[in-house]
Subunit: 255 residues, 2 copies
């Protein structure tokens, strides 16, 4: 299996603290050493870093820890290969363009016998069930809404149906973003926290590292972090229920 | 205007030497300081690094200079904004998927009144004429060949027509790769060199740096470097003729 990390904020924020703990699980405190990746939305653009090296030993991961890239939507993934060999084209997150915006996707789980008909507009480059699911999601969105992007609420309804359909084939913990919102579906295990004023200290569970968010934020900032296993030891994380999809906008879940 | 750098090899090779000279032009020895980017094919996968910082001052460019990523097809670009503001989504290279493989594209030039009808499958995210041209190229390829990728020679013929059509709207120096070949069209100014056995020393023109390729290659290696302005002072570079398209495979131009 793999692990997922997502961030959604109301103001561009760096993910150095959370990523530092998360990356340690990529071959350090945990066994997810078959590649990793991270994508940052920056305006309409995306910075995507993927590497088939374990995150703990990757020079690119080292850069991410040192270089505070500010973003309102981030998705990261550390991989333990189940389907698809260890190769760059099988590293998450995956990226595609639909309706003139980028879509970024990462998945944790295993989809058995999931071979949807992909009719051409979106096709997998690698060999993972995950990329197949991503292509299917985008194909079905385009089929439903044609060339005109729907409202966020119509999009949410469609994704609720589609993720639930895909999840019937196995474990489908996933994160998807178009830069405006972060869509998160939980089959088995995901947690989230919303950090907002008054900010407090947080201590990583995987590294000896503490940050006082009060020192690096303004009172208006709001940041949601979503992750497979809680990243800190002194905060209260909310568990997703199984089969639940949540949409995060401006640093908090919307109903 | 901008500058382009491409590499096509018969064996995975790093581009540290050439990129070091090239990146210096991104705000150092030249004025191309409105962002930059580089894409490396690695198997079917792609590593894409884009940054709206000048290449000379970018921590990501620093990583590329230090981390020898080996690839058979590389495209890099340093930008001086003409159309489209300075933003991540306007940094080249651009990436899309077609026929289950990634396509990477970068452009130097200026296309006046080029507003092709883009019917939906490939749409620009940013505001450059370049991304518009890229989306048009892929759309037309898909229109011609449907869901089945053509042979390289059929692809070459189609690209020859399409690049020539786009070039009628202005300056269209461009590099395009699907990981198998590097397609290069020259409107105004491009140079290339093929390095092969017996390898010799090369000295950068933009940095005080020399490399003896004989020490870092095997006799079977062959590397083509394509660039707007020659990168070294002691080698003979071949100039493209205006309106010419060349296809590089396994480190050399094919007819």
């Amino acid at each position: 299996m793999c692990q997922l990390l997502g961030m959604n904020c109301n103001t561009p924020t760096d993910i150095v603290f959370s990523f530092t703990g998360f990356a340690t699980r990529g071959g350090g405190t945990d066994e997810h050493k078959d590649g990793w990746g991270i994508a940052f939305f920056e305006g309409a653009g995306v910075r995507l870093f993927v590497d088939h090296e374990p995150a703990i030993a990757s020079p690119v991961a080292e850069l991410i820890k040192q270089y505070p890239i500010k973003s309102t939507n981030v998705i990261s993934h550390i991989r333990k290969a189940t389907q698809g060999h260890v190769a760059l084209e099988n590293c998450h997150p995956f990226i595609r363009e639909l309706w003139g915006r980028y879509w970024v996707f990462a998945h944790n789980g295993d989809l058995k016998e999931f071979s949807p008909l992909l009719t051409g507009a979106f096709r997998p480059v690698g060999t993972t069930d995950s990329e197949r699911a991503f292509c299917y999601l985008l194909q079905e969105l385009r089929k439903r809404f044609g060339d005109t992007p729907p409202s966020q609420s119509a999009l949410t309804d469609a994704l609720r149906e589609l993720t639930s359909e895909i999840a019937s084939h196995g474990v489908f913990n996933m994160m998807l973003s178009d830069g405006a919102a972060l869509y998160v579906h939980c089959s088995t295990r995901l947690h989230y926290i919303v950090r907002k004023y008054p900010f407090a200290q947080a201590k990583l569970s995987d590294e000896d590292m503490t940050v006082d968010f009060a020192e690096v934020t303004t009172p208006n900032d709001r940041v949601a972090i979503i992750v497979t296993e809680p990243l800190t030891t002194n905060e209260t994380w909310n568990a997703f229920t199984q089969g639940e999809m949540k949409v995060f906008v401006d640093g908090q879940p919307v109903s």
